[in-house]
């Protein structure tokens, strides 16, 4: 089976600082991959390289290649807008728009040209159901999303992302601002979503990595120290640094 994403010899710089150093990793289709490592090791930067969100930073430079479905995403002919539709992103802090719940989910569909009201309503409902939020909000779709709890807001952001039917969902510490119960709900959701989507999740919580992901990559100082099956990485890591990190000796 071909990989969903193949990253080859990726180096990322912000101005003079070298953030990512020779990253090589393949991401499997419809599986969950966790990125772990201490703060400032480049996990989030790596994640944002995959949907070209770093392009907005003027000092961003990169070398090497990132292939999505065997297609280079940094080629000149690639439409960034189209790419971000295919590679969705959920942020650390829930960031719903100050619009109604309905409009939050419909937003992506509308900007990509969907106008039919009935189809919109149907897709919004499907997306909210897929994000396990429908039952909680179906009677107040016209209410502002800002009135929802943090956990609900984060699931709304997931609904907003899956509404445009991406292939990949990038999650940047999606539970770090949430309480344990909301975290469980998001993790359950990730288990459900992996059947249809390739998910890459940055997490500081190693238990979370073992709970949700099939594969894990350990980042340290801008390099991938070790990557592979989560079970193997956590039970018998090959690298001493990985072992030190997962056993809590640093980080």
């Amino acid at each position: 089976m071909p990989y969903r994403i193949e990253v080859q010899d990726l180096n990322v710089y912000f101005g003079e600082s070298h953030i990512l150093n020779d990253i090589n990793i393949n991401i499997n289709k419809n599986k969950v991959t966790s990125l772990i490592g201490p703060s400032g090791c480049g996990k989030s930067t790596f994640l944002r390289t995959l949907n070209r969100m770093n392009d907005t930073i003027s000092t961003f430079k990169k070398k090497g290649s990132v292939l999505l479905d065997s297609q280079e995403i940094y080629e000149a002919k690639v439409d960034v807008v189209e790419l971000r539709k295919r590679v969705g992103m959920v942020f650390q802090k829930p960031n719903p728009f100050p619009k109604s719940i309905f409009d939050n989910v419909a937003y992506g569909l509308k900007i990509h040209g969907l106008k039919d009201k009935e189809v919109l309503a149907k897709k919004v409902e499907e997306s909210l159901k897929a994000a396990a939020l429908w039952d909680e909000v179906k009677d107040k779709l016209e209410m502002s999303a800002m009135g929802l709890s943090g956990g609900q807001q984060q699931r709304l952001c997931i609904a907003r992302t899956i509404a445009v039917e991406p292939e990949v969902i990038l999650m940047d510490e999606p539970c770090s601002a949430l309480d344990p119960i909301s975290t469980t709900k998001i993790e359950d959701l990730i288990h459900k979503l992996k059947h249809d989507y390739t998910i890459i999740i940055v997490t500081h919580n190693m238990q979370q990595a073992t709970r949700v992901s099939k594969y894990t990559a350990f980042f340290l100082n801008g390099e991938i120290v070790e990557s592979g099956l989560t079970d193997k990485l956590f039970i018998e890591p090959e690298d001493k640094r990985t072992e030190d990190y997962i056993t809590g000796r640093f980080g």
Binding site: K93, N95, F97, I111, A145
Partner: protein, 282 residues
């Protein structure tokens, strides 16, 4: 250690001073409004509001002046608001920190500090004479637009910059273009601030006298065409008072102006409050 004033007492003293300044500010405001209303309200009745002035304003009403005020202010806002909002979007979202941006900001701040009589002279020389607009609603309106522009631009820029970056990230990450993000997410979130800026600019235009002194003419009839001369309320008030035509009617005119501005401010504040509550789900 002996202190002249103990921390506890200095806290009390400072609190009283701040409280006092707050109260004094409100009292001064109430005093001015109260004084104008006390002297002006007795003159105001339906005839005063809805009839033409007689004998240069010694008798009759101020209907043409009320219409002139709205007309001239409308022209000013129609010209200044799009320019101000457009400029603010450029400065906040597209410009970055270039020399040009610094120049635009410097220009806008300088514009804000120019005395209004200078705007009046410029308006006379440029719009009335050079462009041939004559003494008209148009000349007065665009002169006032120049005055309102910095207020609108600055307030809009600040409120656009205050929109959390996470909103635009969320929008970009879903595949929205920069413009879609600005139009669909950033501007709606910045609307309360932008409207406040427009209202501030508008109030400034409504109350302005010097800038329209040489541009709008002095007609005592209702302006119809945009090229008709007009006489907004502040100018009428100025003429009535300085030429000793009628002090009671000058106060009446002032009261109408103050009430109009109060109504506009209160209504927009209420609407904005409602909009913000709906948007933020409170």
């Amino acid at each position: 250690m002996d202190r002249l004033i103990s921390p506890k007492n200095s806290q009390k003293i400072m609190k009283t001073i701040f409280w006092g300044s707050g109260i004094l500010t409100i009292l001064l405001l109430l005093l001015i409004i109260g004084y104008v209303l006390y002297n002006g309200l007795p003159v105001i009745n339906l005839t005063f509001l809805f009839s033409d002035p007689i004998d240069s304003g010694r008798a009759g009403g101020i209907f043409p002046m009320i219409v002139s005020t709205f007309y001239v202010t409308f022209v000013a806002v129609v010209v200044a608001a799009p320019l101000g909002i457009g400029g603010a979007v450029y400065l906040a979202e597209y410009a970055g920190e270039s020399k040009l941006v610094k120049l635009i900001r410097f220009g806008s701040e300088t514009l804000a500090s120019i005395p209004s009589i200078v705007f009046g002279l410029f308006g006379y020389a440029f719009f009335v004479i050079y462009l041939g607009f004559g003494f008209s609603v148009l000349s007065g309106g665009v002169t006032l637009a120049l005055m309102a522009l910095p207020t609108i631009l600055r307030t809009a820029e600040v409120s656009i910059e205050a929109v959390p970056k996470s909103y635009s990230e969320g929008s970009m990450a879903i595949g929205a273009t920069k413009w879609q993000t600005i139009y669909e997410v950033i501007l709606p979130a910045a609307v309360p601030g932008i409207i406040t800026g427009i209202i501030l600019g508008m109030a400034r235009a409504m109350e302005e006298t010097a800038a329209i002194l040489y541009t709008v003419g002095a007609a005592l009839t209702v302006p119809v065409s945009i090229f008709d001369p007009a006489r907004p309320l502040p100018l009428h008030l100025y003429t009535l008072a300085t030429e000793g035509i009628s002090m009671p009617n000058a106060y009446g005119t002032a009261a109408v102006l103050v009430i109009l501005i109060l109504i506009i401010t209160i209504v927009t504040n209420t609407l904005l409050d409602r909009y913000t509550k709906k948007m933020m789900g409170r």
